[in-house]
């Protein structure tokens, strides 16, 4: 059942008409969104076309160093995104470092294990397998870690009197911060749990849809999707845990003190 239908640029132009209709609606209803819509669409077109060109040359060059370079760039970009999504962050290199290294360790580690043992392309770092897989794992780990750290840093400020009360009564830093840690871990895990529960009923995952559209047997597509979801779940859990523990460690010290001066002021004063 290999029935892949190639799209022409004319097909794409036809599909783009729907966006043009949206733009016209925005002008007619004075929503003021037409500029943003136009910029976002242009960014999407340029970014995707460039990625297509890049991937095509990467796939044909088959260089391990280039593949690692691209992977590093992806991790760095995701780390910046984690940093930007927190209202209050750790100051200094820690703000970028903790989220990024948790993501690099969990995301890249699990991707490498999957490539070497489960999927098994030859060589294992073949960019056609490695980069899309890493992208999917990183994308979800990034969301989980940024939610967890944002929750942790917001609640540690709000709960300061309660945390210090426990420290004063002779709790160590880990038990005094356990309630806020638990809250942070829960919010980091929530998106992946929700998406596992809803997948297949509410939404068909994009990757599986893509495979089915390109002619892959649905059973095979489901197997790939399950593998990816397991990897994403594992990497998100590990990454969220590592980032939260590291951040709690940095927000306290070895004399069991709370060191909130190591957090930056909030971005918004809302």
């Amino acid at each position: 059942m290999n029935s892949y239908i190639s799209l022409t640029y004319f097909d794409l132009a036809l599909a783009a008409i729907f966006l043009v209709i949206n733009g016209a609606l925005s002008i007619w209803l004075q929503l003021g969104l037409e500029r943003k819509l136009l910029i976002a669409s242009l960014r999407m077109i340029v970014q995707l076309v460039l990625v297509g060109v890049l991937l095509k040359s990467l796939f044909s060059i088959l260089s391990p160093w280039l593949t690692i370079l691209v992977a590093l760039f992806m991790v760095g970009f995701a780390g910046r995104e984690v940093w930007a999504r927190q209202d209050r962050r750790l100051s200094g290199v820690w703000g970028f470092g903790i989220g990024t290294s948790a993501m690099a360790f969990a995301g890249a580690g699990i991707t490498v294990i999957a490539l070497t043992t489960m999927i098994g392309p030859d060589p294992w770092w073949t960019p056609r397998f490695a980069l899309p897989l890493l992208g999917m794992v990183l994308g979800n780990t990034m969301t989980g870690i940024s939610l967890a750290l944002d929750t942790l840093h917001t609640s540690v400020i709000r709960e300061r009197p309660a945390i210090e009360a426990r420290l004063l009564l002779g709790s160590d830093r880990w038990s005094a911060l356990r309630p806020v840690m638990r809250r942070a871990l829960r919010s980091g895990f929530m998106p992946i749990i929700n998406s596992m529960a809803a997948t297949g009923i509410v939404s068909l995952p994009g990757m599986m849809t893509g495979q089915i559209l390109s002619g892959v047997d649905p059973n095979e597509a489901v197997k790939y999707q399950l593998l990816v979801m397991f990897l994403i779940g594992g990497a998100t859990g590990l990454g969220v845990l590592l980032a939260t523990l590291a951040s709690v460690w940095r927000l306290t010290d070895d004399r069991d003190r709370l060191r909130l001066e190591r957090l930056t002021a909030p971005k918004s004063n809302a």
Binding site: P161, L168, R257
Partner: protein, 198 residues
Amino acid sequence: MLKVTNLTRLHIGPVDFVVANGECVAITGPSGSGKSVLLRSIVDLDPNSGEIQTDTLTRSKCSPIQWRKAVAMLPAESGWWADHVETHFHNTEDLPPLLEQIALHPDALQWEVAHLSTGEKHRLALLRCLESKPEVLLLDEPTAALDHATTLQVEALLGSIMAKGTSIVIVTHDPDQATRLANHHLHLENGQLKEVSK
């Protein structure tokens, strides 16, 4: 006994003072002079330098957990982490007579923290920090939210604790309270402590 030597934190210090067993030292000073910071530094909740000793412990030679059980501090804002008052205590058996002594309802332990007034929270937090039977008690304006009659009841409780040998350091805005409770009265200004003669 509490012996503070060369304590320094930000603009405060170096500060030296001693509180003998069963004695009380009152610390007064203008708002923002660092009275609370001083107490937080003694209990090692903020980074600071200097050495502090009690009869049994030397701060630099024991864990912060041991230290805070021996040198307990009641902060100006009490913190609560569970819904009910009871959950915040290890052992509630001996508490009812103490509750009565400082004008709290005998059922107060079963109450929800969200329904407590500031004064009730403060008195309950005081009982809570007595649980570890501290050698030294550091109190940051313990009666600020109380009326005069209740203030006197809390002071009576503090008196009975001192009678058992506990040393107390109390930060207060009320000069009369300093006179009533304290053996020595220190004034904190520009980061330095000065003895106020009676």
